[in-house]
Protein backbone atom coordinates (compact mmCIF):
# COMPACT_ATOMS: atom_id res chain seq x y z
CA UNK A 1 0.00 0.00 0.00
CA UNK A 2 2.84 2.38 0.85
CA UNK A 3 4.34 1.73 -2.58
CA UNK A 4 1.08 2.64 -4.31
CA UNK A 5 0.83 5.88 -2.35
CA UNK A 6 4.42 6.79 -3.12
CA UNK A 7 4.02 6.02 -6.83
CA UNK A 8 0.93 8.24 -6.81
CA UNK A 9 3.15 10.91 -5.22
CA UNK A 10 5.59 10.54 -8.15
CA UNK A 11 2.67 11.04 -10.58
CA UNK A 12 1.74 14.27 -8.81
CA UNK A 13 5.25 15.52 -9.55
CA UNK A 14 4.75 14.87 -13.27
CA UNK A 15 1.38 16.61 -13.08
CA UNK A 16 3.13 19.65 -11.59
CA UNK A 17 5.05 20.01 -14.84
CA UNK A 18 1.85 19.65 -16.84
CA UNK A 19 -0.27 22.12 -14.92
CA UNK A 20 -0.39 25.68 -16.22
CA UNK A 21 -2.67 27.18 -13.56
CA UNK A 22 -1.81 28.12 -10.00
CA UNK A 23 -4.99 26.43 -8.78
CA UNK A 24 -3.68 23.18 -10.22
CA UNK A 25 -0.43 23.55 -8.26
CA UNK A 26 -2.34 24.18 -5.03
CA UNK A 27 -4.61 21.16 -5.59
CA UNK A 28 -1.53 19.00 -6.15
CA UNK A 29 -0.01 20.24 -2.88
CA UNK A 30 -3.22 19.36 -1.02
CA UNK A 31 -3.32 15.92 -2.65
CA UNK A 32 0.32 15.32 -1.73
CA UNK A 33 -0.64 16.12 1.87
CA UNK A 34 -3.29 13.37 1.79
CA UNK A 35 -0.80 10.90 0.28
CA UNK A 36 1.76 11.75 2.96
CA UNK A 37 -0.92 11.23 5.61
CA UNK A 38 -1.55 7.73 4.22
CA UNK A 39 2.16 6.87 4.11
CA UNK A 40 2.75 8.24 7.64
CA UNK A 41 -0.25 6.35 9.01
CA UNK A 42 0.94 3.03 7.58
CA UNK A 43 4.63 3.47 8.29
CA UNK A 44 4.73 5.06 11.72
CA UNK A 45 2.27 2.79 13.48
CA UNK A 46 5.04 1.57 15.81
CA UNK A 47 5.89 4.93 17.39
CA UNK A 48 4.09 6.32 20.42
CA UNK A 49 0.60 7.74 20.05
CA UNK A 50 1.44 11.38 20.78
CA UNK A 51 4.15 11.48 18.13
CA UNK A 52 1.90 9.74 15.64
CA UNK A 53 -0.96 12.16 16.33
CA UNK A 54 1.41 15.10 15.90
CA UNK A 55 2.65 13.83 12.55
CA UNK A 56 -0.83 13.00 11.26
CA UNK A 57 -2.12 16.36 12.40
CA UNK A 58 0.71 18.03 10.53
CA UNK A 59 0.04 16.20 7.27
CA UNK A 60 -3.72 16.68 7.30
CA UNK A 61 -4.20 20.02 9.06
CA UNK A 62 -1.09 21.78 7.87
CA UNK A 63 -0.20 20.33 4.47
CA UNK A 64 -3.67 19.49 3.18
CA UNK A 65 -5.86 22.23 4.64
CA UNK A 66 -3.95 25.22 6.03
CA UNK A 67 -1.26 25.74 3.35
CA UNK A 68 -3.55 25.39 0.29
CA UNK A 69 -6.12 27.68 1.93
CA UNK A 70 -3.47 30.24 2.71
CA UNK A 71 -2.04 30.09 -0.81
CA UNK A 72 -5.52 30.66 -2.22
CA UNK A 73 -5.96 33.59 0.15
CA UNK A 74 -2.64 35.13 -0.98
CA UNK A 75 -3.57 34.72 -4.66
CA UNK A 76 -6.94 36.42 -4.11
CA UNK A 77 -5.61 39.15 -1.84
CA UNK A 78 -2.77 40.11 -4.14
CA UNK A 79 -4.75 39.68 -7.38
CA UNK A 80 -2.20 37.25 -8.79
CA UNK A 81 -3.06 36.06 -12.30
CA UNK A 82 -4.06 32.41 -12.64
CA UNK A 83 -1.32 31.42 -15.06
CA UNK A 84 1.85 29.90 -13.62
CA UNK A 85 3.93 31.59 -16.36
CA UNK A 86 6.80 29.14 -16.72
CA UNK A 87 9.98 30.03 -18.64
CA UNK A 88 9.79 26.63 -20.34
CA UNK A 89 6.89 25.05 -22.23
CA UNK A 90 4.85 22.57 -20.18
CA UNK A 91 5.75 19.68 -22.47
CA UNK A 92 9.44 20.24 -21.84
CA UNK A 93 8.78 20.49 -18.09
CA UNK A 94 7.03 17.12 -18.13
CA UNK A 95 9.91 15.55 -20.05
CA UNK A 96 12.49 16.98 -17.62
CA UNK A 97 10.52 15.90 -14.52
CA UNK A 98 10.15 12.42 -16.03
CA UNK A 99 13.91 12.31 -16.52
CA UNK A 100 14.39 13.48 -12.92
CA UNK A 101 12.23 10.59 -11.67
CA UNK A 102 13.98 8.15 -14.00
CA UNK A 103 17.40 9.38 -12.87
CA UNK A 104 16.40 9.05 -9.21
CA UNK A 105 15.15 5.53 -9.92
CA UNK A 106 18.43 4.53 -11.57
CA UNK A 107 20.45 6.15 -8.77
CA UNK A 108 18.41 4.39 -6.08
CA UNK A 109 18.86 1.04 -7.79
CA UNK A 110 22.60 1.59 -8.02
CA UNK A 111 22.82 1.70 -4.22
CA UNK A 112 23.47 -1.70 -2.72
CA UNK A 113 22.22 -1.31 0.79
CA UNK A 114 19.94 -3.88 2.38
CA UNK A 115 18.66 -1.41 5.01
CA UNK A 116 17.65 1.22 2.48
CA UNK A 117 14.03 1.41 1.42
CA UNK A 118 14.69 2.41 -2.14
CA UNK A 119 11.25 3.73 -3.00
CA UNK A 120 11.40 6.30 -0.18
CA UNK A 121 14.84 7.39 -1.30
CA UNK A 122 13.77 7.60 -4.94
CA UNK A 123 10.62 9.63 -4.25
CA UNK A 124 12.45 11.98 -1.88
CA UNK A 125 15.19 12.68 -4.45
CA UNK A 126 12.60 13.16 -7.21
CA UNK A 127 10.65 15.64 -5.07
CA UNK A 128 13.83 17.49 -4.14
CA UNK A 129 14.99 17.96 -7.73
CA UNK A 130 11.48 18.62 -9.05
CA UNK A 131 11.04 21.35 -6.42
CA UNK A 132 14.35 22.93 -7.45
CA UNK A 133 13.33 22.66 -11.10
CA UNK A 134 9.99 24.39 -10.40
CA UNK A 135 11.80 27.19 -8.56
CA UNK A 136 14.23 27.69 -11.44
CA UNK A 137 11.72 27.65 -14.26
CA UNK A 138 8.75 29.59 -12.90
CA UNK A 139 8.44 33.34 -12.95
CA UNK A 140 6.10 34.07 -10.03
CA UNK A 141 7.16 34.38 -6.41
CA UNK A 142 4.23 32.22 -5.32
CA UNK A 143 5.39 29.37 -7.59
CA UNK A 144 8.80 29.59 -5.94
CA UNK A 145 7.10 29.05 -2.60
CA UNK A 146 5.18 26.10 -4.09
CA UNK A 147 8.49 24.65 -5.38
CA UNK A 148 9.90 24.93 -1.89
CA UNK A 149 6.84 23.17 -0.43
CA UNK A 150 7.41 20.30 -2.88
CA UNK A 151 10.99 20.02 -1.58
CA UNK A 152 9.56 19.99 1.94
CA UNK A 153 7.25 17.11 1.02
CA UNK A 154 10.25 15.21 -0.34
CA UNK A 155 12.12 15.80 2.92
CA UNK A 156 9.07 14.51 4.80
CA UNK A 157 9.06 11.29 2.73
CA UNK A 158 12.73 10.74 3.51
CA UNK A 159 12.18 11.42 7.22
CA UNK A 160 9.40 8.79 7.25
CA UNK A 161 11.97 6.20 6.17
CA UNK A 162 13.76 6.70 9.50
CA UNK A 163 10.68 7.70 11.49
CA UNK A 164 10.12 4.50 13.46
CA UNK A 165 13.66 4.56 14.81
CA UNK A 166 14.03 8.28 15.33
CA UNK A 167 10.71 10.11 15.67
CA UNK A 168 12.60 13.17 16.87
CA UNK A 169 13.88 13.71 13.34
CA UNK A 170 10.39 13.60 11.89
CA UNK A 171 9.34 16.18 14.47
CA UNK A 172 12.32 18.33 13.52
CA UNK A 173 11.21 18.11 9.89
CA UNK A 174 7.75 19.21 10.90
CA UNK A 175 9.31 22.11 12.77
CA UNK A 176 10.99 23.14 9.53
CA UNK A 177 7.66 22.89 7.71
CA UNK A 178 5.81 25.03 10.20
CA UNK A 179 8.64 27.50 10.47
CA UNK A 180 8.85 28.07 6.75
CA UNK A 181 5.09 27.91 6.27
CA UNK A 182 4.40 30.60 8.81
CA UNK A 183 7.32 32.80 7.91
CA UNK A 184 7.52 32.57 4.13
CA UNK A 185 3.81 32.46 3.44
CA UNK A 186 2.34 34.27 6.38
CA UNK A 187 4.48 37.35 6.52
CA UNK A 188 6.53 37.91 3.41
CA UNK A 189 4.28 36.66 0.63
CA UNK A 190 1.69 39.12 1.96
CA UNK A 191 4.13 41.96 2.45
CA UNK A 192 5.54 41.50 -1.05
CA UNK A 193 2.00 41.72 -2.36
CA UNK A 194 1.55 45.06 -0.60
CA UNK A 195 4.78 46.58 -1.86
CA UNK A 196 5.28 45.18 -5.36
CA UNK A 197 2.65 45.70 -8.01
CA UNK A 198 3.41 42.52 -9.90
CA UNK A 199 4.16 39.25 -8.09
CA UNK A 200 7.04 38.45 -10.37
CA UNK A 201 10.67 37.61 -9.60
CA UNK A 202 11.65 40.23 -12.18
CA UNK A 203 10.54 42.81 -9.58
CA UNK A 204 13.19 41.58 -7.15
CA UNK A 205 16.15 42.96 -9.06
CA UNK A 206 16.73 46.28 -7.39
CA UNK A 207 19.60 45.12 -5.22
CA UNK A 208 22.52 45.59 -7.58
CA UNK A 209 24.97 48.39 -8.17
Amino acid sequence: MTNILLIAFAFTLVYLGMSSRLQGYISILAFQGILLFGVAFIELIEINTINLMFILLETIVFKTIAIPKFLNYIIKRNHITREAEPFLPNFLSVVIITFIILGSFILSNAIHDTHLRKIFFMIALSALFTGLFIIMTRRKIITHVIGFLVIENGVFVLSLAVGNEMPMLVNAGILLDIFVGVLLLGIFANKIGDVLKEQDVEQLRQLKD
Binding site: I111, D113, H115, L116, A124, L128, I135, I141, H144, F148, I151, E152, V155, L158, S159, A161, V162, E165, M166, M168, L169, A172, G173, L175, L176, F179, V180, L183, L184, F188, K191, I192, V195, L196, L204, Q206, L207, K208, D209
Partner: protein, 327 residues
Protein backbone atom coordinates in the same frame (compact mmCIF):
# COMPACT_ATOMS: atom_id res chain seq x y z
CA UNK B 1 22.78 27.07 33.71
CA UNK B 2 21.80 26.87 30.03
CA UNK B 3 18.19 26.24 31.06
CA UNK B 4 18.18 29.40 33.18
CA UNK B 5 19.94 31.31 30.39
CA UNK B 6 17.35 30.26 27.80
CA UNK B 7 14.40 31.06 30.06
CA UNK B 8 15.72 34.47 31.20
CA UNK B 9 16.71 35.39 27.62
CA UNK B 10 13.25 34.39 26.41
CA UNK B 11 11.64 36.58 29.09
CA UNK B 12 13.97 39.50 28.23
CA UNK B 13 13.25 39.26 24.50
CA UNK B 14 9.49 39.07 25.17
CA UNK B 15 9.67 42.13 27.42
CA UNK B 16 11.76 43.95 24.80
CA UNK B 17 9.18 43.11 22.17
CA UNK B 18 6.25 44.53 24.16
CA UNK B 19 8.02 47.39 25.90
CA UNK B 20 7.85 50.91 24.41
CA UNK B 21 9.73 52.74 27.18
CA UNK B 22 13.23 53.78 26.11
CA UNK B 23 14.91 53.61 29.54
CA UNK B 24 13.43 50.21 30.34
CA UNK B 25 14.54 49.09 26.91
CA UNK B 26 18.17 49.99 27.61
CA UNK B 27 17.96 48.41 31.07
CA UNK B 28 16.73 45.16 29.56
CA UNK B 29 19.48 45.20 26.93
CA UNK B 30 22.04 45.85 29.68
CA UNK B 31 20.60 42.96 31.70
CA UNK B 32 20.90 40.68 28.70
CA UNK B 33 24.54 41.62 28.08
CA UNK B 34 25.33 40.88 31.74
CA UNK B 35 23.47 37.57 31.45
CA UNK B 36 25.39 36.70 28.27
CA UNK B 37 28.72 37.31 29.99
CA UNK B 38 27.76 35.49 33.21
CA UNK B 39 26.66 32.56 31.07
CA UNK B 40 29.89 32.64 29.02
CA UNK B 41 32.08 32.71 32.13
CA UNK B 42 30.02 29.95 33.77
CA UNK B 43 30.34 27.70 30.71
CA UNK B 44 34.09 28.43 30.51
CA UNK B 45 34.48 27.31 34.11
CA UNK B 46 32.39 24.17 33.55
CA UNK B 47 34.14 22.84 30.48
CA UNK B 48 32.89 19.51 29.05
CA UNK B 49 30.07 19.11 31.58
CA UNK B 50 26.84 18.05 29.90
CA UNK B 51 23.70 20.13 30.50
CA UNK B 52 20.08 19.21 29.75
CA UNK B 53 21.28 16.20 27.74
CA UNK B 54 21.90 18.16 24.56
CA UNK B 55 24.52 20.78 25.45
CA UNK B 56 28.24 20.37 26.18
CA UNK B 57 30.52 23.42 26.44
CA UNK B 58 33.65 21.97 24.82
CA UNK B 59 36.69 24.07 23.90
CA UNK B 60 35.50 24.76 20.34
CA UNK B 61 32.10 25.96 21.55
CA UNK B 62 33.68 28.15 24.25
CA UNK B 63 35.96 29.93 21.75
CA UNK B 64 32.99 30.80 19.54
CA UNK B 65 30.85 31.73 22.55
CA UNK B 66 33.50 34.15 23.82
CA UNK B 67 33.80 35.73 20.34
CA UNK B 68 30.00 36.11 20.28
CA UNK B 69 29.90 37.69 23.73
CA UNK B 70 32.64 40.15 22.77
CA UNK B 71 30.97 41.09 19.48
CA UNK B 72 27.53 41.57 21.07
CA UNK B 73 28.74 44.51 23.23
CA UNK B 74 29.74 46.84 20.33
CA UNK B 75 26.71 45.60 18.38
CA UNK B 76 24.35 46.75 21.12
CA UNK B 77 26.30 49.97 21.69
CA UNK B 78 26.21 50.87 17.99
CA UNK B 79 22.52 49.98 17.88
CA UNK B 80 22.02 52.63 20.55
CA UNK B 81 23.93 55.16 18.40
CA UNK B 82 22.02 54.05 15.30
CA UNK B 83 18.65 54.70 16.95
CA UNK B 84 19.86 58.02 18.29
CA UNK B 85 20.39 59.23 14.70
CA UNK B 86 17.57 57.45 12.92
CA UNK B 87 14.62 58.01 15.26
CA UNK B 88 12.70 54.88 14.32
CA UNK B 89 9.31 54.16 15.86
CA UNK B 90 9.33 52.54 19.33
CA UNK B 91 7.69 49.47 17.79
CA UNK B 92 10.46 49.06 15.19
CA UNK B 93 13.08 49.49 17.93
CA UNK B 94 11.35 46.92 20.11
CA UNK B 95 11.29 44.35 17.29
CA UNK B 96 14.93 45.11 16.47
CA UNK B 97 16.22 44.57 20.03
CA UNK B 98 14.04 41.50 20.63
CA UNK B 99 15.25 39.94 17.35
CA UNK B 100 18.87 40.70 18.22
CA UNK B 101 18.53 39.02 21.62
CA UNK B 102 16.90 35.97 20.01
CA UNK B 103 19.69 35.85 17.41
CA UNK B 104 22.43 35.91 20.07
CA UNK B 105 20.65 33.29 22.20
CA UNK B 106 20.12 31.00 19.19
CA UNK B 107 23.80 31.37 18.25
CA UNK B 108 24.95 30.60 21.81
CA UNK B 109 22.73 27.51 21.99
CA UNK B 110 23.88 26.35 18.54
CA UNK B 111 27.53 26.61 19.61
CA UNK B 112 26.95 24.66 22.80
CA UNK B 113 24.69 21.93 21.43
CA UNK B 114 26.21 18.48 21.37
CA UNK B 115 23.56 16.99 19.10
CA UNK B 116 23.57 17.51 15.33
CA UNK B 117 19.76 17.94 15.09
CA UNK B 118 19.69 20.44 17.99
CA UNK B 119 22.42 22.48 16.27
CA UNK B 120 20.28 22.48 13.13
CA UNK B 121 17.19 23.65 15.04
CA UNK B 122 19.00 26.59 16.62
CA UNK B 123 20.69 27.56 13.35
CA UNK B 124 17.24 27.50 11.77
CA UNK B 125 16.09 29.85 14.52
CA UNK B 126 18.85 32.30 13.56
CA UNK B 127 17.21 32.62 10.12
CA UNK B 128 13.99 33.83 11.74
CA UNK B 129 15.67 36.39 13.97
CA UNK B 130 18.08 37.58 11.25
CA UNK B 131 15.10 38.07 8.89
CA UNK B 132 13.46 40.40 11.42
CA UNK B 133 16.69 42.41 11.62
CA UNK B 134 17.15 42.62 7.84
CA UNK B 135 13.55 43.81 7.39
CA UNK B 136 14.03 46.58 9.96
CA UNK B 137 13.96 49.48 7.47
CA UNK B 138 10.61 48.32 6.04
CA UNK B 139 11.31 49.51 2.48
CA UNK B 140 11.28 47.70 -0.87
CA UNK B 141 14.98 46.95 -0.83
CA UNK B 142 14.90 45.61 2.73
CA UNK B 143 11.95 43.45 1.74
CA UNK B 144 13.81 42.11 -1.28
CA UNK B 145 16.92 41.40 0.79
CA UNK B 146 14.83 39.65 3.45
CA UNK B 147 12.93 37.57 0.93
CA UNK B 148 16.13 36.39 -0.76
CA UNK B 149 17.77 35.64 2.58
CA UNK B 150 14.77 33.71 3.85
CA UNK B 151 14.27 31.75 0.67
CA UNK B 152 17.89 30.71 0.14
CA UNK B 153 18.40 29.97 3.85
CA UNK B 154 15.20 27.90 4.03
CA UNK B 155 16.30 25.78 1.06
CA UNK B 156 19.77 25.45 2.58
CA UNK B 157 18.37 24.37 5.93
CA UNK B 158 16.22 21.78 4.14
CA UNK B 159 19.42 20.48 2.47
CA UNK B 160 21.13 20.23 5.86
CA UNK B 161 18.15 18.29 7.18
CA UNK B 162 18.39 15.87 4.24
CA UNK B 163 22.09 15.45 5.08
CA UNK B 164 21.18 14.62 8.69
CA UNK B 165 18.67 12.05 7.41
CA UNK B 166 21.40 10.42 5.28
CA UNK B 167 23.61 10.33 8.34
CA UNK B 168 20.76 8.64 10.20
CA UNK B 169 20.57 5.99 7.47
CA UNK B 170 24.28 5.31 8.00
CA UNK B 171 23.68 5.01 11.75
CA UNK B 172 20.69 2.70 11.36
CA UNK B 173 22.78 0.26 9.36
CA UNK B 174 24.97 -0.21 12.41
CA UNK B 175 22.02 -0.33 14.78
CA UNK B 176 22.91 3.03 16.36
CA UNK B 177 20.51 5.78 17.37
CA UNK B 178 22.42 8.62 19.00
CA UNK B 179 23.09 11.72 16.92
CA UNK B 180 25.31 13.39 19.49
CA UNK B 181 28.68 14.55 18.16
CA UNK B 182 30.53 12.48 20.74
CA UNK B 183 28.78 9.24 19.69
CA UNK B 184 29.15 10.08 16.00
CA UNK B 185 32.90 10.67 16.30
CA UNK B 186 33.27 7.45 18.27
CA UNK B 187 31.36 5.35 15.74
CA UNK B 188 32.49 7.23 12.61
CA UNK B 189 35.06 4.62 11.44
CA UNK B 190 32.39 1.89 11.18
CA UNK B 191 29.75 3.96 9.38
CA UNK B 192 28.88 3.38 5.71
CA UNK B 193 31.05 5.76 3.69
CA UNK B 194 28.50 6.13 0.89
CA UNK B 195 25.92 7.67 3.23
CA UNK B 196 28.60 9.72 4.94
CA UNK B 197 29.70 11.18 1.61
CA UNK B 198 26.12 12.08 0.72
CA UNK B 199 25.55 13.54 4.19
CA UNK B 200 28.76 15.60 3.90
CA UNK B 201 27.76 17.03 0.51
CA UNK B 202 24.28 18.03 1.70
CA UNK B 203 25.32 19.37 5.11
CA UNK B 204 28.25 21.27 3.65
CA UNK B 205 26.14 22.79 0.86
CA UNK B 206 23.38 23.73 3.29
CA UNK B 207 25.58 25.42 5.86
CA UNK B 208 27.43 27.45 3.20
CA UNK B 209 24.37 29.77 3.16
CA UNK B 210 25.18 30.74 6.73
CA UNK B 211 28.96 30.62 6.34
CA UNK B 212 28.89 32.79 3.21
CA UNK B 213 30.78 30.23 1.17
CA UNK B 214 30.33 28.71 -2.25
CA UNK B 215 27.71 27.66 -3.45
CA UNK B 216 24.94 29.23 -1.30
CA UNK B 217 26.82 32.41 -0.36
CA UNK B 218 24.25 34.61 -2.16
CA UNK B 219 21.94 34.40 0.86
CA UNK B 220 23.97 36.77 2.98
CA UNK B 221 25.20 39.39 0.52
CA UNK B 222 22.04 41.51 0.30
CA UNK B 223 21.15 40.70 3.89
CA UNK B 224 24.30 42.29 5.33
CA UNK B 225 23.83 45.29 3.11
CA UNK B 226 20.17 45.98 3.88
CA UNK B 227 20.17 45.35 7.65
CA UNK B 228 21.05 48.28 9.96
CA UNK B 229 24.85 48.42 10.32
CA UNK B 230 25.13 46.86 13.84
CA UNK B 231 22.87 44.00 12.78
CA UNK B 232 24.86 43.69 9.53
CA UNK B 233 28.02 43.35 11.62
CA UNK B 234 26.46 40.47 13.56
CA UNK B 235 25.25 38.82 10.36
CA UNK B 236 28.68 39.26 8.78
CA UNK B 237 30.64 37.86 11.71
CA UNK B 238 29.03 35.63 14.33
CA UNK B 239 26.24 34.38 12.07
CA UNK B 240 28.83 33.34 9.49
CA UNK B 241 30.83 31.69 12.24
CA UNK B 242 27.85 29.49 13.08
CA UNK B 243 27.73 28.24 9.47
CA UNK B 244 31.39 27.40 9.66
CA UNK B 245 30.79 25.83 13.08
CA UNK B 246 28.16 23.47 11.59
CA UNK B 247 30.52 22.47 8.78
CA UNK B 248 33.45 22.00 11.15
CA UNK B 249 31.45 19.83 13.56
CA UNK B 250 30.59 17.48 10.71
CA UNK B 251 34.11 17.67 9.33
CA UNK B 252 35.32 16.50 12.74
CA UNK B 253 33.22 13.35 12.28
CA UNK B 254 34.44 12.84 8.71
CA UNK B 255 38.08 13.25 9.78
CA UNK B 256 37.77 9.98 11.71
CA UNK B 257 36.73 8.04 8.63
CA UNK B 258 38.39 6.76 5.46
CA UNK B 259 36.74 9.53 3.39
CA UNK B 260 38.71 12.28 5.13
CA UNK B 261 40.97 12.81 2.09
CA UNK B 262 38.02 12.61 -0.26
CA UNK B 263 36.25 15.42 1.61
CA UNK B 264 39.36 17.63 1.46
CA UNK B 265 39.92 17.03 -2.27
CA UNK B 266 36.25 17.40 -3.08
CA UNK B 267 36.15 20.75 -1.35
CA UNK B 268 39.08 22.02 -3.39
CA UNK B 269 37.73 20.61 -6.66
CA UNK B 270 34.32 22.22 -6.20
CA UNK B 271 35.80 25.56 -5.15
CA UNK B 272 38.29 26.28 -7.94
CA UNK B 273 36.27 26.00 -11.18
CA UNK B 274 33.26 27.71 -9.60
CA UNK B 275 35.41 30.56 -8.34
CA UNK B 276 36.97 31.14 -11.77
CA UNK B 277 33.57 30.95 -13.47
CA UNK B 278 31.90 33.42 -11.10
CA UNK B 279 34.79 35.87 -11.13
CA UNK B 280 34.79 35.97 -14.94
CA UNK B 281 31.00 36.33 -14.98
CA UNK B 282 31.00 39.24 -12.55
CA UNK B 283 33.98 40.89 -14.25
CA UNK B 284 32.03 41.03 -17.51
CA UNK B 285 29.04 42.74 -15.86
CA UNK B 286 29.44 46.45 -15.26
CA UNK B 287 26.46 46.59 -12.91
CA UNK B 288 27.71 43.87 -10.62
CA UNK B 289 30.94 45.32 -9.28
CA UNK B 290 29.86 45.25 -5.60
CA UNK B 291 28.93 41.63 -6.03
CA UNK B 292 32.27 40.98 -7.70
CA UNK B 293 34.12 42.50 -4.71
CA UNK B 294 32.00 40.56 -2.27
CA UNK B 295 32.52 37.39 -4.25
CA UNK B 296 36.27 37.92 -4.23
CA UNK B 297 36.20 38.36 -0.46
CA UNK B 298 34.24 35.10 -0.26
CA UNK B 299 36.83 33.47 -2.51
CA UNK B 300 39.65 34.64 -0.27
CA UNK B 301 37.68 33.28 2.63
CA UNK B 302 37.44 29.96 0.86
CA UNK B 303 41.20 30.01 0.33
CA UNK B 304 41.74 30.68 4.03
CA UNK B 305 39.18 28.11 4.96
CA UNK B 306 40.71 25.49 2.70
CA UNK B 307 44.15 26.18 4.06
CA UNK B 308 42.70 25.72 7.52
CA UNK B 309 41.22 22.36 6.66
CA UNK B 310 44.40 21.34 4.93
CA UNK B 311 46.38 22.05 8.06
CA UNK B 312 43.59 20.93 10.38
CA UNK B 313 43.74 24.33 11.98
CA UNK B 314 40.61 25.85 10.59
CA UNK B 315 39.90 27.62 13.84
CA UNK B 316 43.01 29.75 13.60
CA UNK B 317 42.16 31.28 10.26
CA UNK B 318 38.39 31.46 10.36
CA UNK B 319 37.86 34.32 12.81
CA UNK B 320 39.96 36.53 10.53
CA UNK B 321 37.72 35.54 7.62
CA UNK B 322 34.63 36.47 9.60
CA UNK B 323 36.18 39.73 10.69
CA UNK B 324 37.22 40.65 7.14
CA UNK B 325 33.69 40.11 5.88
CA UNK B 326 32.23 42.07 8.78
CA UNK B 327 34.45 45.01 7.85
Amino acid sequence: MIGIYLIVAFVVSTLLFFNRNKILNYLLVGLFVVLQWVFTIYEYRHLNIEELGYFIPDSLAIIFLIVLSIVCIPAFYHSYIYFKHHRDTPRAQAIYYAAMVVLIVALSAAYLSSHIAVTWIFIDLTTLSAAALIYHRRNVRALEGTWKYLFVCSISMALVFIGILFLTLALQEEGLKSLSYHALIEKAPILNTFWLKLAFLFIFTGYTAKAGLIPMYTAGIDAKDKAPSPAGALIGSVLMNVGFFGIYRFYEIISHTSIHNWSNKNYIHIGHPYRIYCNSLYASCEECQTYACLFRSVSYGVGCHRFGFWRNRALCCYPSFGASLAC
